[in-house]
Amino acid sequence: MRRAIRLPLACGVVFLAGAGLAGLLVGPVDLGVGEIARSALAHVPFLHVHSPLSGADAAILWQLRAPRVVLGLLVGGMLALAGASYQGVFRNPLADPYLLGIAAGAGLGATLAIVYGSGVVESYDLVPLAAFAGGAVGVVAAYLLGRSASGGRSTAALILAGVTVTSFLTAAQTFVQQQHSQSLQEVYAWILGHLDTAGWHDVALVAPYIAVSAGVILLHRRVLDVLSLGDEEAASLGVNVRRTRFVVVVFATVGTAAAVAISGLIGFVGIIVPHAVRLVLGPSYRLILPLSLLCGAGFLVFADVIARTVLSPAELPIGVVTAFFGAPFFAIVLRTSRSFA
């Protein structure tokens, strides 16, 4: 059993490392592989390697490109992991991290902050905070609504509550945006998702939330396997179904909210990566969870490389890339796996 896990994990790590390297090496400005390597070694103490990069090039590499790559790893990994765990606890293949109203809530929070917050506080930090709070409000509302409808026994009620809350919050967000069309561009830019304006500050802001959330979710990987047998079977095997579902949903939500707060609504990663992993490696969450984390991280960084090079020196919004390249990729995985079945 151990060995069956080790090979896919190693592949995942290689994929992740490849994505990270590509992310650092490829960009609109050609810095040269050797120069980048020496510049990296210059940061290691006691080696006395002198960085060959000029001030501007060093800034491009370490202040613009590197934080973007790291943020892409964190956000992509978190979204895919959250998507996989939602699919696990709800036993619903269409579940994604935005299922319970988090995206609509975060969108409303960010829009309110952009429209009413400018000038009041430094909007740079207000928007992520408002998006995080909005996302949390959306999920809590969906959870309370779903529980009041079914007493917490039905996952279908919870999912429908999420759909309801999403529609309502989206309507509110559209209304606010409509009333303040001068902010349209900024709101729209946020909703399309972005890694391009990220700095180390943003990385430091989300890393703790994502690390804790990912850690807790990964600890539940075996329980999710038991849960996949059905609520009653899992309960008879000694799993506290409601508590497990609650804990996993809370941490997946916190991690997703943190990712969304900084990078906006990046679609598709949370649903296609876990499914691709499941189609290739089978239904065990002991594999799906860690591999979703690794592959989601790698996938988003590769998507970001495309976003900043395909029209270089112009950029594409990352949300466009994840859907445009993600969908055909997923279609291929779907077809090949069917021929194996």
């Binding site: 960009g27 609109p28 400005v29 001030g55 501007a56 090039d57 800034a59 491009i60 370490w62 202040q63 613009l64 490109r65 934080p67 400018s118 000038g119 909007s123 740079y124 409509q178 069309s181 001068q182 902010s183 561009q185 900024e186 830019a189 972005h194 391009d196 304006t197 700095g199 180390w200 500050h201 900043r308 029209l311 270089s312 020196p313 112009a314 950029e315 594409l316 919004p317």
Partner: protein, 280 residues
């Protein structure tokens, strides 16, 4: 029978001819902020009964809740206009107003100063202020020529980055706002990035830092609260010449994005900054 057909023909032929030279409108609704500025500049302000929610200049324009983006035909008709000026035709607005026999004038975004001048003259003809419009255009031409002449050779060839939003959307020299700055002899760094030809590419931060512009024109001060200090604080941007040489010009988003008479102030602000940078 023949007479009737002829009569009908005559009416059909005469109808457009008659509407080609109507009496000057006295109840104008403007759904375009630029047209509003134009109308007041050429002396047609007294004929304007309502302007859209974005028309915030001049201050005495009769601003209403009408929207030029999502227009409500009934709400527009309630002002009983005899001319509606629009810059675009969203959801068949022009056709809907035609059903109510309300004349519309489509004044789309200009792509050059010449186009902006032509639009002023067109509005002058349509409102009975030909002379007023002509005077405005002449004054604008004169001022732009003066500004262009005042730019020393040393400032020509300076590069600029015009920022339309904090996620680095910019405008090439094919757009109105970019084109007026190239009149000063400045080079637009967005030109190299516009492969799709949209005129408004989204630049990557890496490219902006590498292009090292001498001037940064911030046209996202109002929408997005950007300032020279905030740009300076962006991680990785400090090596850009414009930031070390005090080459940042903060302008109003509205003035930079409209093609009305205030564009002269925009050109002047950038010219002054270019001169100061060149003098260093």
């Amino acid at each position: 029978m023949k007479g009737l057909v002829f009569g009908l023909f005559a009416v059909l032929l005469l109808a457009p001819a008659a509407s080609a030279a109507p009496a000057p409108p006295h109840r104008i609704v403007s759904l375009s902020p630029t047209a509003t500025e134009d109308l007041f500049a050429i002396g047609a302000g007294a004929q304007v009964v309502a302007v859209d929610d974005q028309s915030d200049y001049p201050a005495n324009a009769p601003r209403t809740k009408l929207s030029g983006y999502t227009p409500n035909v009934e709400a527009i008709a309630a002002y009983k206009p005899d001319l509606v000026v629009v810059s675009a035709n969203p959801s068949g607005l022009v056709a809907a107003l035609a059903k109510l026999h309300i004349r519309t004038l489509l004044a789309p975004p200009a792509t050059s100063l010449a186009g902006a001048y032509a639009q002023l003259e067109q509005l002058g003809r349509a409102t009975g202020h030909e002379a007023g419009a002509h005077k405005v255009v002449q004054r604008l031409r004169q001022r732009v020529a003066q500004i262009v002449a005042s730019v020393p050779a040393g400032a020509k060839g300076l590069s600029f980055y015009e920022e339309l939003s904090p996620d680095y959307y910019s405008a090439t020299s094919k757009t109105f706002t970019g084109q007026v700055l190239t009149l000063l002899g400045l080079k637009d760094i967005a030109d190299a990035a516009d492969k799709s030809g949209s005129g408004y590419p989204k630049l990557s931060a890496e490219y902006i830092v590498a292009a090292d512009p001498d001037l940064i024109v911030l046209a996202d001060t109002k929408c997005c609260g950007q300032t020279a200090a905030k740009v300076k604080a962006r991680p990785g941007w400090s090596s850009i010449s414009a930031l070390s040489n005090d080459g940042v010009v903060a302008v109003s988003d509205d003035v930079a994005s409209r093609w009305g008479p205030r564009i002269v102030g925009f050109i002047r602000a950038v010219a002054e900054r270019a001169k100061a940078v060149a003098a260093k």
